[in-house]
């Protein structure tokens, strides 16, 4: 047995990976028998950085954990700090937060659907999905001012109010996306290219998903009924009716279907929130420092739950700020999915948990590319940016 196995490194630089991580596969012929994970290639020292910054500065740093789920992380951050400061965001702010968070889920799931299509060689669908994703990005730009890194929240509320014009434009955009998503669902269920590459690939049983603490759509695609928006409601989710989507195929196809259905649910949540948008202020004043204490907050990001832990010490800077992004919670499950599968299915199985390496790697100090370590100062980054046409 040991004579016939080989070790195949995937990453940190590999065509199948969109971001750098390393997976050392032990293969017997085409079959994968073991996986070893090595992370850290895009670590930026986030958790240490929080300890050296004020809570207000942290509000913007937290978004940099991940460009795709910036809103989810920031929402988790403010949800963590607000009870510690003894402030509560007004109802209108809670609804606006919900709307932006769901728009982010729409953009992230469409992005994922596109990437998944690309990984199985179905680039037409990839182009369609990414075209539609622009609609949600444009809506977020209109509402928050930014396509990504929205900075929608502030401690005690949101930064911008929704105008009547914004509401009607959002309704139009969401109606369009809902129509398109329904078409994609029909396509996913009928198109042989997708079914051949997705059915029975990357199996994660319900028992394994529970034992390995899988989160988000990955867990729900293995029939684990678990969604923070239902289980531990925040913002306006306890007032909004929506369905918790699960599928029991436990494979890549299941993960596609969960996300497609969630796109429709998100559209419904946004429409409901717009219909029931409360009137009133969008923010309250919050103190700069927090008395000694600790708190945990959880938010359902597009990829699964974000959990943040904060320990305060009475100053305007946290004693400790811990961030766990959903991808780290899903690596163990992903290793399980790969084992017993074929090398050719690695890209789609990896893509199926919707990994976000930057999210996972939020803590490091340096870039460890091919063994070389270095740190760039702000000046060097500016110089590099200028050299490459930046301002």
């Amino acid at each position: 047995m040991s004579n016939s196995t080989y070790k195949v490194p995937i990453g940190p630089q590999h065509p199948a990976l969109k971001e750098p991580e390393n997976f050392l596969l032990t293969v017997d012929g085409e079959e994968i028998i073991d996986v070893k994970i090595r992370l850290g290639y895009v670590h930026r020292g986030g958790e240490k950085a929080f300890e050296n910054r004020t809570y207000v500065q942290g509000l913007y740093l937290i978004e940099r954990v991940c460009g795709i789920c910036a809103m989810a992380h920031q929402l988790c951050y403010v949800n963590n700090l607000e009870p510690m400061m003894d402030v509560e965001a007004p109802p209108r702010a809670q609804y606006i937060r919900t709307i932006v968070a769901e728009l982010e889920r729409v953009h992230s799931h469409l992005l994922w659907l596109g990437v998944a299509a690309h990984e199985i060689g179905f680039d037409t669908l990839f182009m369609y999905c990414w075209r539609d994703r622009e609609v949600s990005l444009d809506l977020m730009e209109m509402i928050t001012g930014n396509r990504v890194l929205h900075a929608a929240n502030t401690i005690g509320g949101v930064r911008r109010d929704l105008t009547a014009d914004m509401i009607s434009k959002t309704r139009k955009g969401i109606a369009l996306l809902k129509k398109r998503t329904e078409y994609y669902k029909k396509l996913v269920l009928a198109e042989k290219t997708i079914l051949k590459r997705a059915l029975g690939v990357g199996i994660l049983s319900t028992k394994d998903a529970a034992e390995l603490c899988a989160v988000g759509p990955t867990a729900r695609a293995s029939n684990v009924k678990k969604d923070v928006r239902k289980d531990d409601p925040y913002s306006a989710y306890d007032e909004i009716p929506f369905n918790l989507i699960t599928y029991d195929l436990c494979d890549v196809a299941s993960r596609v279907l969960v996300r497609v259905d969630e796109l429709i649910e998100s559209a419904n949540i946004i429409e409901y929130s717009l219909d029931h948008l409360p009137t009133g202020p969008i923010g309250v004043r919050a103190p700069r420092s927090i008395p000694p204490g600790e708190n945990v907050s959880i938010v359902e990001a597009p990829r699964g739950e974000d959990i943040h832990y904060c320990k305060s010490n009475g100053t305007d800077k946290p004693e400790r700020y811990k961030v766990r992004a959903p991808t780290l919670g899903n690596w163990a499950s992903m290793a399980k999915m790969l084992i017993g599968g074929y090398v050719a299915d690695v890209p789609i199985t990896l893509a199926a948990i919707d990994p976000c390496m930057s999210c996972t790697d939020r803590v490091a100090f340096i870039d460890a590319n091919s063994g070389k370590n270095w740190i760039w100062s702000t000046e060097q980054i500016k110089k590099y940016s200028k050299k490459n046409g930046g301002r």
Partner: protein
């Protein structure tokens, strides 16, 4: 807003009844948030009780914490198959900084594997019985014995230490 916290109070009472003075502190912070500090010697017993008898089978993450004199590890545990809204129970244990050793909990909750590796990287806490504590996130040439999230390592110190290794 007053919410019903009887379920939260119940788990705190259960722990107090079962483990008595091994529970150093137990409080219900708010709805669905419970913080419990226990004696590190009882870690396995308490985790087993929570997982096997109370269905706290999900570890959301493990946070390391530097308390200057001691280090602390917080296991953020959760009910998994509960139909109602779930409670997040943060189980805290303290360990001495000069002898940072704890038993691994992966025999009880397999999902803790990567989190323990992460805390080992960043705080230097050794989880005895863990099958693989090789670096998960720190680079290959990281100076040994430098645990970046401990308070004694300031940003500048880490920078100098890395540069030294580079040379």
């Amino acid at each position: 807003m007053l919410s019903d916290i009887s379920k939260e109070q119940e788990i705190v009472n259960n722990l107090k009844d079962k483990f008595g003075d091994k529970i150093i502190e137990a409080k219900v912070q708010s709805a669905r948030r419970v913080f419990v500090t226990i004696d590190s010697k009882s870690l396995i017993k308490v985790t087993k009780f929570l997982a096997k008898e109370k269905n706290y089978t999900h570890v959301a993450t493990i946070s390391g914490l530097d308390l200057v004199k001691n280090l602390a590890v917080i296991y953020h545990l959760r009910e998994y198959h509960s139909k109602e809204q779930f409670i997040t129970l943060s189980l805290k244990v303290e360990v001495a900084k000069d002898k940072p050793k704890l038993p691994t909990i992966i025999t009880i909750i397999p999902g803790a594997e990567l989190y323990e590796r992460e805390v080992h990287d960043l705080f230097g806490i050794v989880f005895e019985g863990h099958p693989d504590l090789s670096p998960l996130i720190l680079p290959e040439h990281w100076p040994s014995g430098v645990y970046p999230l401990r308070k004694e390592y300031k940003l500048e110190d880490i920078k100098t230490k890395i540069e030294k290794v580079k040379k």
